[in-house]
């Protein structure tokens, strides 16, 4: 069974030889960049470089997927935001792209352009996905991600304003989030039509470190449901931060699987959601993968598997600075402890 078949089965809850070691988020490493002598900023802007970089974690460590892009600006750009790619930085500097200029002042200002497959960097991502499929698509699944409606709203308008209006003017924010959900469904399905094997929806701006569980239920969840009922499957809902009290709601969203980070107690989550739920998690991408020893990594992987994850996922993007030995130990540990 190769990685692609394994992951496919995992998404349909079929019997597999072992859990997989993959992700739905960025996983390029400095070692991968070195392989092609790329600067970090280059891989966000050029389809071939993006694709090559996205395949390196599979090629170097046997990580079981290829995922592009690496930043959170694709959707925001389509909607009119301007990005900073830090192209003036030195080759060895890892600085993630950021939104430099927001797209809208008020929720009502949103206008979604026609033909989004042609807009912003969407063509770059589509081209990259195509190259990735040719390169490694027989062996590992090829995937991409979109933002959740609320996280996207925070990328295109002033975040403080969004947070306050969520309370004071929930109707306006609900309308905005619904329009964004429609837009995201369209974009997600463009990616599916391009042949991706799964899609991750990153609602990282809405953990309980920031929003109350009540607000998650009333304002965030309904629009996640819109997204998951509209996009093809398999789909994954990922939320960073503290998710312990919202895992039931995450599962209710209609995603094929949910993904949580290290602040989540996965054993409890499994207990709450039962056997049918597909749960991915929950390795600390910095504290464990970058800073941890091989021993730390092995015990974190074991704990996640013992806790009942269906596959081991990092809690967010893999941090590029991760040492080579650690990535190798990580993948190995999943192979070893994940036997079924």
């Amino acid at each position: 069974m190769n990685s692609k078949e394994r992951v496919k089965k995992i998404f349909s809850k079929k019997k597999v030889d072992r859990v997989a070691c993959f992700s739905g988020m960025g996983n390029v490493t400095v070692e991968g960049l070195k392989k092609y002598d790329y600067a970090f900023y280059e891989i966000h802007l050029d389809a071939e470089k993006m694709a090559n970089a996205a395949c390196t974690s599979y090629e170097l460590y046997g990580f079981e997927c290829a995922v592009a892009p690496f930043d959170l600006g694709i959707e925001a750009e389509v909607l009119g935001a301007e990005m900073n790619f830090y192209t003036h930085k030195r080759k060895e500097d890892i600085v993630y792209p950021t939104v430099k200029k927001k797209a809208i002042e008020n929720p009502g200002d949103l206008s979604v352009p026609e033909g989004i497959a042609e807009k912003g960097r969407v063509p770059v991502v589509l081209k990259a996905l195509e190259i990735m499929q040719k390169k490694v698509g027989d062996d590992v699944p090829v995937a991409t991600y979109i933002l959740g409606p609320y996280t996207l709203a925070g990328q295109i308008m002033d975040l403080e304003k969004l947070l306050k209006m969520s309370f004071k003017k929930p109707d306006e924010i609900n309308a905005l989030l619904s329009s964004l959900a429609d837009f995201l469904v369209e974009l997600g399905n463009i990616y599916f039509d391009a042949g991706i094997d799964y899609l991750t929806v990153r609602e990282m701006g809405a953990p309980t470190d920031v929003l109350s569980p009540r607000m998650f239920r009333n304002l965030i969840l309904p629009h996640l449901k819109e997204v998951f009922s509209g996009v093809k499957r398999p789909s994954v809902l990922h939320i960073c931060g503290d998710t312990n009290i919202i895992v039931e709601l995450m599962w209710e969203s209609g995603a094929t699987a949910i993904s949580v980070e290290q602040k989540n107690d996965v054993a409890k989550t499994r207990e709450k959601l039962g056997d049918e739920a597909i749960i991915f998690g929950n390795i600390d991408p910095f504290g464990t993968l970058v800073q941890g020893s091989v021993e730390n990594i092995r015990s974190a992987v074991k704990a996640a598997i013992d806790g009942g994850v269906d596959s081991v996922w990092p809690g967010c993007d893999i941090w590029p600075a991760v040492p080579k030995e650690n990535m190798i130990a990580y993948v190995k540990a999943v192979e070893e402890f994940g036997k079924r």
């Binding site: 830090y86 600085v95 950021t98 939104v99 947070l163 306050k164 004071k168 929003l211 970058v290």
Partner: protein
């Protein structure tokens, strides 16, 4: 003015902040002025007391970020009314703070909470925003003659800009004290990089800053 009335107004100012009811705060603030209450008393024992409670509710996980931001709006609504009436000689600015999130990092939710607590505590704050070029911290701290430069970072990569800023400030503006924080920044890193202070959250940030400024004043006056 009778004590009963004073207590009533303070209570409404405080509750207005905690319940983020801007109208309640405005009315109570206006009434404070109408009955001749001391404006500083109303600010410190009404508005600020309310914000302190908000800080506790946030730390306990009862309030979340949007709630705190709205409480802050209610507080500012009251401040706008009361501040012009504070007697000049009563204004004792605790210090001048330059704050920002270091270059490459857009996570500014935490920084904004810290900034607000500084304002509440009577500091004068210059907010450089997020994704701030490292040199800018140095320039602005010199321009403003800042007592404290507060640096925030939420990523383990961008956090590495902090020791660079600290080094530059030491060289060009040795009088400024440097406070650092943000989720990945540990007390140990703060010590290693030679920062003057570190705090895990917004409430402690202000406590730490007050201690640092005291130290500063002592040094300037040649005590100890």
């Amino acid at each position: 003015m009778d004590e009963e009335k004073r207590k009533d107004i303070l209570e409404r100012l405080k509750n207005g902040v905690v319940e983020f009811d801007e109208d309640m705060v405005r009315e109570a603030a206006q009434e404070a002025l109408d009955v001749g209450m001391d404006a500083l008393d109303a600010i410190m024992n009404g508005l600020v007391a309310g914000m302190e409670e908000v800080g506790e509710l946030f730390d306990k996980g009862e309030y979340f970020v949007p709630e705190v931001l709205m409480c802050a709006d209610a507080l500012y609504a009251g401040l706008d009314i009361l501040k012009p009436h504070v007697k000049k000689e009563d204004i004792k600015v605790s210090g001048q703070v330059v704050i920002g999130v270091v270059e490459g990092d857009v996570h500014d939710i935490g920084k904004n909470l810290v900034k607000m607590m500084f304002e509440v505590a009577g500091f004068e704050v210059i907010d450089l925003g997020k994704d701030v070029p490292l040199e800018k911290f140095v320039e602005e701290s010199l321009n403003a003659n800042a007592d404290i430069v507060a640096l925030s970072a939420m990523m383990t990569t961008t956090m590495l800009g902090m020791p660079k800023v600290i080094e530059m400030i030491r060289e060009k503006n040795p009088n400024a004290k440097i406070l650092i924080g943000g989720a990945p920044v540990s007390k140990e890193s703060a010590e290693k990089w030679g920062a003057d202070g570190w705090a895990p959250d917004a409430t402690n940030a202000v406590k730490e800053a007050i201690n640092m400024v005291r130290g500063l004043k002592k040094e300037v006056m040649g005590e100890e």
